[in-house]
Subunit: 442 residues, 2 copies
Amino acid sequence: MSVTISDLTKKSILGYSSCLSATDSVARIVSGVMKPSEIISECIAHIEEYEMKVGAWSFIDKYRAINEASELDKIKPEGPLFGIPFGVKDNIDTHDMPTAHGTSIYEGSQPSRDAACVAGLRFSHALPLGKTVCTEFAHRAPGKTGNPWNLDYTPGGSSSGSAAAVASGMVPIAIGTQTTGSVIRPAAYCGVIGYKPTYGDFNTSGVLANTPSFDTLGFFSKEIEDMVLIRRALLDDSIPALLNDSLKNVKIGIAVEPYWDNACDLNMSMIEQVESLLIRAGAQVLKFDGTEAFKNLEQIGTNISGYEFARTLSHERRCFYDQLSPILRDGRMADGFKINYSQYALSIQEMERLRIKLDDAMSRVDFVICPSAPSTASLGLHETGSASFNMAWTWLHTPVVTLPIAFDTKTELPLGLQMVGKRHQDDKLLTHASAVLKYLFK
Amino acid sequence: MSVTISDLTKKSILGYSSCLSATDSVARIVSGVMKPSEIISECIAHIEEYEMKVGAWSFIDKYRAINEASELDKIKPEGPLFGIPFGVKDNIDTHDMPTAHGTSIYEGSQPSRDAACVAGLRFSHALPLGKTVCTEFAHRAPGKTGNPWNLDYTPGGSSSGSAAAVASGMVPIAIGTQTTGSVIRPAAYCGVIGYKPTYGDFNTSGVLANTPSFDTLGFFSKEIEDMVLIRRALLDDSIPALLNDSLKNVKIGIAVEPYWDNACDLNMSMIEQVESLLIRAGAQVLKFDGTEAFKNLEQIGTNISGYEFARTLSHERRCFYDQLSPILRDGRMADGFKINYSQYALSIQEMERLRIKLDDAMSRVDFVICPSAPSTASLGLHETGSASFNMAWTWLHTPVVTLPIAFDTKTELPLGLQMVGKRHQDDKLLTHASAVLKYLFK
């Protein structure tokens, strides 16, 4: 058993050709070296080559994308994502492609409008190539997607297709959603960068809710700078470029109890190796004490997610109960009927207090690190793995990034380093993530 | 100029026949005195008689409702709203009726699922009669609805049709939404009870967002007990009945600065009369000091609503910009492009601090009162009136009720008394509202 620190975005897997990152593509389009139609053709070629085995997509509309790209060929590049192909998780509405929420109940169902995030990326002339596979209602029943690193292993979920599409070079960027660990876990399992923003920053209009108090969008890429372009497109163009910061005297907390000490030996070894590299880079590494913020967190959070999820899916519960998977019906939905309104309302207030306690704990560090998942992806496509390492950060509303920086030398499956920032300081977190990547690999 | 304190739910207006309240209807159905089909027939008769002049509905599906009611006739009553007809604001999705969001852009558009609130009411065997008129995207451009008290006057907005339908006896209850004053204002203008819950309590899945940080559902009725039934149907059956409380030693704060001292003389006079009646009932009435919670509130809130609203409607901005009204484009949407992301993120944090300051100020009273709107409804259907008296409470996430307790003796238009409770204490607020109504009129 051993783990090797390695820049997985540069590692070729199973013979997949990588596509250009969004940042590189935009640079080539702006400088006139490549045209949008050439960028999209490369992605489509990869889809045609790998999709049969990976199964990342629930719907692909290559002809529309090709037509739109050739229209862009004719005009002057403008907007942060001009000509960039992207994937859209299938719980996010698109006015010109069906949205099935990962269930046969809504197969072929056509929304009347684009979700705000899809329209926002289109505004900056990015081109959606299709809809990516989502677990059933973004809960746990998996779709058809395999892990591009080893197709017998889970890609994670619920944003399974978005992670796998980016990992196998079919698109440079993809949109996902996270309620517990639905972006960070699949990104870690698939060896790509995943970013879950501060709760509330990105508009979720047109995204099917799961647990509204926790739901956020999230994004996948192979280059950290791509996240800046996405933020510019969806937030506004005032988002700063990543600074070329050093890690000297940066305070880094290592999260341990009560969740992260369940990590497998490989993950423990990854954290130890990262720790000594960060210390060598001049960072101050200390144990992160979040005890106060994590008190009863799991119970409180399960009360909230159960109560809200069961109500979000009231229509499906009423009209399609028999078509819901047992894991959904007997899992989070059943949880929701074990607590009553006053327990829910108390949990909401208690969670808000925990958030303030985490803000307080976070004030003693610049960012926190821990593994992105308890282990590498597990064998089999029947389940999507554990979100236990992501839950606290999602529920407490902090921004999180996972970096694909290590792999198991035996299985050759990826491991992710989870970096957690302070609420509303996503730009700083992304800058630190860039610095960590640079220090580890350059 | 004079104002008369009067129970407007008992006052017949313009010759409309009132329909039974939800509470009364359920009692009659459960005791076998009436059948669901008789309840719905009465509502349909009122719609056929009044709708031509009031214009409360954008879509009516009476045959489906009649069929569903006759199915209910055959079974044993169960659920808090068995056989109760209701109206659904047209920015709320229904799987079997179109949802147009108050704009010709989405005329006839058919969602694939029911919003959580619609499915939740249907679960308790309530029957949606149709979709009620909504201003354009729940912003300010009005629909066709007139104020049932005087059809030349605005019913208020954005939940115009829901308020007017309940006011004119077409349905006992209706669903609306509020982002600033879209439930409380039309309820006050139309002389019915309006209830805007604590932010977050009611699931908004399937409701078109406006400003996600402020959006809540809201409800209209003519009897305060009806709100308990709605809460049982949508939250859970643990919601308590209203206690028969007295107002003895209850601490009531009167909100004055910086918003409510702009009230018209009629409203001032209403508050004075209510104050002396409440004192006579044994309540302690004091001036409510919310200064700290209202500091820069308007600027902070406008930053948030502008930023979020402009992004919620990204698809419409991209594809239908010319079909948006000038008041929407040049109003809240334009506001949204005047601030950048960091100003927005600061405003979100500042608003959260103001909420905690309001919690603190509210801890010194049991509830707060003020007028529900600066004046009675204004003449003309070209605008929907000012939400300035509702803004603070909505943005600060407190529960609010408006009671139809007074009218202008000259114009015979209603005035509403706004009651504000503490966050997550809606049951207590509704109990106090019931006590206020009982003391004023019984």
